[in-house]
């Protein structure tokens, strides 16, 4: 009677272990993270990280990008190169412009009325912000997965086929749907019920369905705007695993509130921050491991050690 509210530990903040500890190889033991083994945060440091900070042939090149909503500037002069077939995380506190920046990459932000964008974004060296570029074409090359799973109120099959259909896909649609669902690690769960509604799936399945829907258009880049923020830890884990697999064939940019997630999944991390003028700027960008273990900027260090944000 007295205890009406039960408090659960926040599953996404990995036991409040200081974030740097994820990179102290071998130090994160089972005892320090008493969780199911398969929920143990995976270390990016397991991966070979021989690349230098120089990004050759970036998939996406953001140059001096500034964004205004009406008269309010939200993003100021961000320049950022995004490496091909890697996962790049954008982190920072709420209102730092990271989602805005992400949504500029596939020209999604223009759907908001009163938005003004300056600067340039190139994909494979091709500028997106010039006359004659149709945002619709851009979005076919740069797919997006949103914060909340947003499947259409259609069947699983039609959800996946949606983008391909409107893009006039000529090939075998059944095959494309199967492949996309397989790549999104959802096929085995839904293969017997492709005519069932996408909304009947669980939240995590819905988000994987949305990923399958994005993949089915065969994009080069996938933007993910806090894709796990509405999911439980197990579903989050599956999406993170999936991102690792997808990174072998796609360039992934993920916005996340969750520093542990950035640390777990990304190769590179960009830290953004809005200061007194409320304009989001890029503070630091580099290899994820480097940024979390030895940040060069004091504000980055304060943020990743949880002193604010």
């Amino acid at each position: 009677m007295t205890q009406l509210q039960q408090t659960y530990p926040d599953p996404l903040s990995v036991n409040e272990v200081p974030i740097q500890q994820h990179f102290n190889k071998g130090e994160v033991t089972e005892s320090s993270t008493p969780r199911e083994p398969n929920l143990r945060p995976r270390m990016k440091s397991d991966r070979p990280s021989k690349e230098t900070d120089e990004i050759k042939d970036p998939a996406v090149r953001i140059q001096d990008l500034s964004v205004w909503y009406g008269s309010k500037q939200a993003v100021g002069n961000v320049s950022l190169d995004i490496a091909r077939n890697q996962i790049t995380a954008l982190i920072g506190p709420s209102g730092c412009g990271k989602s805005t920046l992400l949504r500029c990459i596939n020209r999604m932000n223009e759907l908001i009325s009163g938005v003004r964008i300056e600067g340039q974004i190139e994909i494979d060296g091709e500028p997106l912000y010039i006359d004659g570029v149709d945002p619709v074409e851009v979005r076919r090359v740069i797919g997006m997965v949103f914060q909340r799973p947003n499947p259409f109120a259609k069947s699983i099959y039609d959800n996946v086929a949606f983008g391909a259909r409107i893009n006039g896909y000529q090939g075998d649609m059944d095959e494309l749907v199967r492949q996309s669902l397989e790549q999104a690690a959802l096929w085995d769960e839904v293969k017997d019920d492709l005519k069932g509604s996408g909304l009947a799936l669980s939240g995590g399945q819905q988000q994987r369905l949305c990923i399958a829907r994005a993949i089915a258009v065969q994009p080069e880049v996938i933007l993910m705007d806090e894709p796990c923020s509405a999911l439980d830890p197990i579903a989050t884990q599956r999406i993170e695993d999936l991102m690792q697999e997808l990174a072998t064939s796609y360039t992934i940019v993920i916005v996340t509130h969750n520093m542990q997630q950035a640390a777990r999944v990304s190769n590179r991390t960009a830290f953004m921050l809005a200061q007194e003028d409320l304009v989001g700027r890029l503070v630091e960008y580099g290899q994820t491991e480097q940024l979390f273990t030895s940040p060069s900027n004091k504000r980055t260090e304060d943020y990743i050690t949880g002193r604010f944000g």
Binding site: M144, V145, N150, P151, F152, A153, I166, L199, A214
Partner: protein, 310 residues
């Protein structure tokens, strides 16, 4: 759970102080129920009167003769309601040829294309259209639309004709379609539009493949409401289409609708208590049945086609 009270010594009693509030809550619930009951009782009363008077009519005139007869001249003993039904349906269908396309397209414009500024101008104007008394529409049809039709390409149109009634009833019900459809289009979550844009849909594709299907239940509901309104519309039709019960599909002739006939009878043409007077209850019963069937049909259609997004 033990039922014996264990009172902590030295501690004030914590429960049982809010009896008066509980009473207030009950009174509030009772008042609210009373208000709801008024509408239910009214409906029941109307149905009872309709049916008792209607049935006494049907004791004299067989329902089959009533429903299948093709001549409606109660004064000389012909009680075939088909001309009235046909007149009513013709005007309702004709009106929906205007209200559904114009209303739907303007709803799509308002919800998806119009800038907030344009919207803030057009939406109130549409709502004013809905607030104009229907007799004014009838007058407008008689003194403006019919002469216009005559002077332009339909010189043989009668002074009273079904066509001008269709046109004004159509215009009259546009706001009903556009306003409700606009609301249901705008109720479609932005996240669904974004999802479609995100895979490279054009604005038109987003609307036709995502927004519109998701809003379909509300849109179809608006159609049914508009048609029901056209079926039940009285004054404009009485003025514009006249009072000649013709079994015709020619919109250039005068017709009489069911409602227009009821107006005519209640104007005192038939003495109270006669069979002629009781025809209005039979007709009202038929109207009631028609709108009822339409509402049931629409519920069916909506549950079949809607794309639930919740």
């Amino acid at each position: 759970m033990s039922t014996t009270a264990v009172v902590n010594p030295g501690r004030p009693q914590r429960f049982g102080h809010r009896r008066s509030q509980q009473f207030t809550e009950r009174v509030i619930a009772a008042v609210l129920f009373g208000c709801a009951a008024v509408t239910v009782l009214t409906t029941v009363g109307i149905v009872v009167i309709l049916f008792s008077e209607g049935l006494s009519f049907f004791r004299e005139i067989h329902p089959v003769d009533f429903l299948t007869g093709t001549r409606w001249t109660p004064a000389s003993g012909n009680f075939g309601v088909l001309p009235l039904i046909l007149g009513t349906l013709m005007i309702a269908v004709g009106a929906s040829f205007i209200s559904i396309p114009v209303g739907t397209l303007s709803a799509i414009f308002l919800a998806e294309y119009a800038s907030p500024k344009v919207r803030s101008i057009i939406k109130p104007i549409l709502e004013v259209l809905a607030g104009i008394p229907t007799i004014v529409y009838g007058f407008f049809a008689l003194t403006f639309i019919t002469p216009l039709l005559r002077d332009s390409w339909l010189p043989d149109v009668g002074i009273f004709n079904a066509l001008s009634a269709m046109i004004v009833v159509g215009i009259m019900t546009v706001p009903m379609v556009s306003s409700i459809s606009d609301d249901s289009l705008r109720a479609v979550p932005e996240s669904l539009r974004e999802a479609a844009y995100g895979v490279g849909a054009t604005k038109f594709e987003v609307i036709t493949r995502v927004t519109f299907p998701s809003a379909l239940s509300g849109i179809v509901a608006s159609y049914i409401l508009a048609i029901s309104r056209a079926v039940g519309e009285t004054m404009a039709v009485t003025v514009a289409a006249g009072a000649t019960p013709h079994l015709t599909l020619n919109p250039l002739e005068s017709v009489q609708t069911m409602t227009a006939y009821i107006v005519q009878v209640t104007q005192g043409e038939a003495p109270h208590g006669t069979i002629e007077f009781r025809t209005i209850f039979a007709i009202a019963m038929t109207l009631f049945a028609m709108t009822m069937i339409m509402n049931l049909l629409s519920a069916r259609i909506v549950s079949k086609f809607r794309e639930r997004y919740e």
